[in-house]
């Protein structure tokens, strides 16, 4: 083991065996002991069978990526060992389901037998495996019992009975030391972004199910009351965005969520929101494409599509967060920006953030609130598209006495009545152009649009975006390189990028796509990369594989 307490645990099984829940419970055990957590989920597009696994990282330091080498491997089925045995560390421990697997090394536990003898359901075998692991790693029964009670609602009594027996029948192998840190919340990127939107005053969420954005829909639907939001699943993504824009027109802060294919269907609506100047927040959680691609695996190939989404001349806000914390902050910020500038705003996340689990620092909660937007003062005649100097016309909503509110997809006059007059067309486009300028100015003044990590003095700079932040940051910090992460991508924070790259002699660009989409954007701003590291097997980078590449710089 290294000096830093840093454990990697792999839990695998067939879909339906509960390996994902087992992974989360193990992460929560480490969380109770004060460790920082990151979980990477790997699962297939099927319901039963196949092979799913979770890679849990538990460290005394902040971690945002997984390690492939496993200190502990928990196998619910034989496939887990067949696929991953090479990943087991030299001194690593293999714990396996002895009822399903015969293997000459490692520790077998008869989890199916224990479960069956106590009259449990087959899925409860995963509880037996967790309990055996807890005993082997010196985690107290009290901690295990507490976590199980919290995580397992239905059938907890039977689960505890099974856990107790598996716990008692196992022997301690190694003692995981308890740290001084208090347990912290563990959130997936999607949970964090949902809560960020709620904190900024979300009223309505609309979606059509699509991996990896579906868990936003599930989370908000399950927490409608606490979050005080109305959640609707509609017939398709076209309906979703048009209904969302309808709700925003009626005065409600609205978010819609999807992945690349659904986003493509929404783009006409994004154009509508731009023309009607109706705020809408769109989440695109990327997975690999084109088309259906590899549905449950990652990719960063929607960037250019998102930056140019919707027909016509207009600007939209686009932000790509790199972890759960940033997802919370920027989703809240984007909802505010969408309303302040009456424009479409897109949060571009990806599968490994959306479905990855992160230790969440509650300090970020205070940084998001529902910010003020520009509303009509109720005086005089109301004009939805009043020609203001900053291009931002105050909003009124239907139902408000004294105002006739007319929003429109056609080019229009100040009242919102369609027009084909040259002078009127130019006047309205000029109004919107001044608004786009105001959006650019806002980005220029905004904090955190470009983040910098690692050795700030290094002349070797790695540029990353979205989920690649995790592995890049870890590898670069280890090797003493500088990392630059553009977070706001439209309007582009050119000034901050130039400042962050000042003095750079070697620039490396890292992306999860095959054509270097971010690099193309950088090029358009006069930034040239000396080397590109691209990956498109749809799996995330690990810090270890990046270090090998970074050493060649």
């Amino acid at each position: 083991m290294k000096n830093t307490k840093d454990y990697s645990i792999l839990v695998g099984g067939a879909a339906g065996q509960g390996s994902r829940v087992a992974g989360l419970i193990i992460a929560k055990l480490f969380n109770r002991l004060g460790y920082n957590i990151f979980i990477h989920e790997d699962y297939q597009s099927l319901i039963k069978g196949g092979h799913n696994f979770s890679q849990i990282r538990a460290s005394e330091e902040e971690v945002l990526s997984h390690r492939n080498e496993a200190d502990f491997m928990l196998a619910l089925d034989a496939n887990t060992i067949a696929k991953h045995k090479d990943k087991l560390a030299k001194k690593g421990t293999l714990i396996f389901n002895q009822d399903k697997i015969q293997f000459d090394t490692g520790i077998g536990v008869k989890i199916d037998t224990i479960t069956k003898e106590l009259g449990g359901l087959p899925i409860m075998s995963n509880t037996a495996l967790i309990a055996a692991f807890a005993k082997m790693t010196g985690i107290s029964w009290a901690v295990l019992e507490d976590v199980l009670k919290k995580e397992i609602g239905k059938g907890i009594e039977k689960n505890l009975e099974i856990a107790r027996k598996a716990y008692d029948e196992s022997q301690e192998v190694v003692k995981i030391e308890k740290l001084k840190n208090k347990p912290k919340p563990l959130l997936t990127g999607n949970e964090a972004l949902a809560l960020g939107a709620v904190k900024a005053g979300l009223d309505n969420y609309y979606a059509y199910p699509m991996t990896p954005a579906t868990s936003i829909l599930h989370y908000l639907a399950a927490h409608e009351k606490e979050c005080n939001v109305t959640v609707s699943q509609l017939e398709n993504e076209i309906s979703v965005i048009n209904a969302g824009i309808g709700s925003a027109f009626a005065g409600k802060r609205t978010m819609v969520g999807t992945s690349g294919g659904g986003f493509a269907l929404m783009t006409e609506g994004i154009s509508l929101a731009a023309q009607a100047e109706t705020p809408i927040l769109v989440i695109d959680s990327q997975r690999s494409g084109p088309a259906t691609g590899v549905p449950t695996y990652n990719g960063q190939s929607d960037l250019l599509c998102v930056l140019a989404s919707g027909h016509g001349d207009f600007l939209r806000f686009v932000v790509a967060p790199g972890d759960a914390q940033e997802s919370f902050y920027w989703t809240g910020k984007l909802l505010n920006l969408a309303w302040q500038y009456q424009t479409p705003a897109i949060l571009l996340t990806d599968k490994d953030i959306s479905e990855g689990t992160f230790t969440f620092d509650e300090a970020v909660l205070k940084k998001v609130k529902k910010e003020k937007d520009s509303v009509w003062n109720g005086k005089g005649e109301y004009k939805r598209y009043l020609d203001k100097e900053n291009g931002i016309s105050p909003m009124a909503f239907p139902g408000q006495p004294g105002a006739i509110v007319k929003a429109i997809s056609y080019e229009h006059d100040e009242y919102g009545i369609s027009t084909e007059e040259e002078a009127q067309i130019v006047k309205m486009q000029d109004k919107r152009l001044r608004k786009f300028e105001a959006m650019q100015n806002a980005v220029d003044e905004m904090e955190g649009t470009v983040k910098v990590y690692g050795n700030l003095k290094s002349k070797k700079v790695v540029i990353c975006w979205g989920s690649t932040k995790g592995a890049v940051k870890e590898a670069a910090e280890h090797l003493g390189l500088k990392v630059v992460q553009p977070v706001v991508l439209q309007p582009f924070p050119e000034k901050q990028m130039y400042a962050a790259l000042k003095g750079a002699e070697k620039i490396v660009s890292v992306e999860l796509n095959s054509t270097g989409q971010m690099e193309q954007i950088l090029n358009s701003h006069g930034i040239e990369a000396d080397k590109r590291i691209l990956k498109y097997d749809m799996r995330p980078f690990t810090a270890q594989e990046l270090e090998v590449q970074f050493k060649k710089i």
Binding site: T230, E235, A243, T254, A276, I417
Partner: protein
Amino acid sequence: MEKLETSCSNTWCPGCGNFGLLAAVKEAVNSLIESGTPKEKIVIVSDIGCNSKIADYLNLNSFYGLHGRSIASAEGVKLANSDLKVLVFLGDGAALDEGISHLIHAAKRNSDINVFLLNNRLFALTTGQFTAVSPKGMKGKSTPEGSVEDPINPLELMMASNATFIARSYALKVQHLKNLIIEAVKHKGFSLVEVLEPCISFFNTMQFYGEKAYEAVNEDPSSKEKAMALIREWNYSEEGRVPLGLFYKIEKPSYEEQMNKKEEGREADIAKCIQSHI
């Protein structure tokens, strides 16, 4: 009487059936205002097509959206603020070609919106092509030899989609249409009023409807059988009689009253959500 005109000059063809629609809508809206609906609570949601220009011609709140998507936008408006009376105006191309999925699902979920399907049985603003309700053999610019498709019956489709209010009127029968608009708005839940319209430039059916359209009497609008008999009386061809009137009406909880969970003025309890993640 409220002045409902705007400064926008009307660009419909002289003699267009939409003038009948506009007159009926103005009268119905005035009647609603007189009976206590505040003007500011009325919202017009409009599609793209000749009839949808009505948004420009009415001094009322309006959302003039995308082709085929007006029904989806209207559902969003209603879910956001259930106090609003939402009147959707769209043509047969929008409702039955481009946006048919939204029509079916809005009916299915009983969204409390009022859909006025202005049916001139072709695309007019794009200068005359067949739609889902054009008669077979219709010669248009995209089908010079005649369309090979049989029309669908949109009211049968609405019945199959669980609509709770199905009616048909004729744009040139202004009083008939006005009364159905008022009834539709008063109906709690989804309402579909098909408004037959001649297109004097590309498909002038004025003589046909003048001869064939009649005001049917339906003493029991809750009867599916009676409704279906009226709905099936005309198959959207050049033959048969064309019944007008309220064909079907039943009461069911609306989508919005069941789905709207947002409580105004109550803070979200994010701390509680976060705690559950430890």
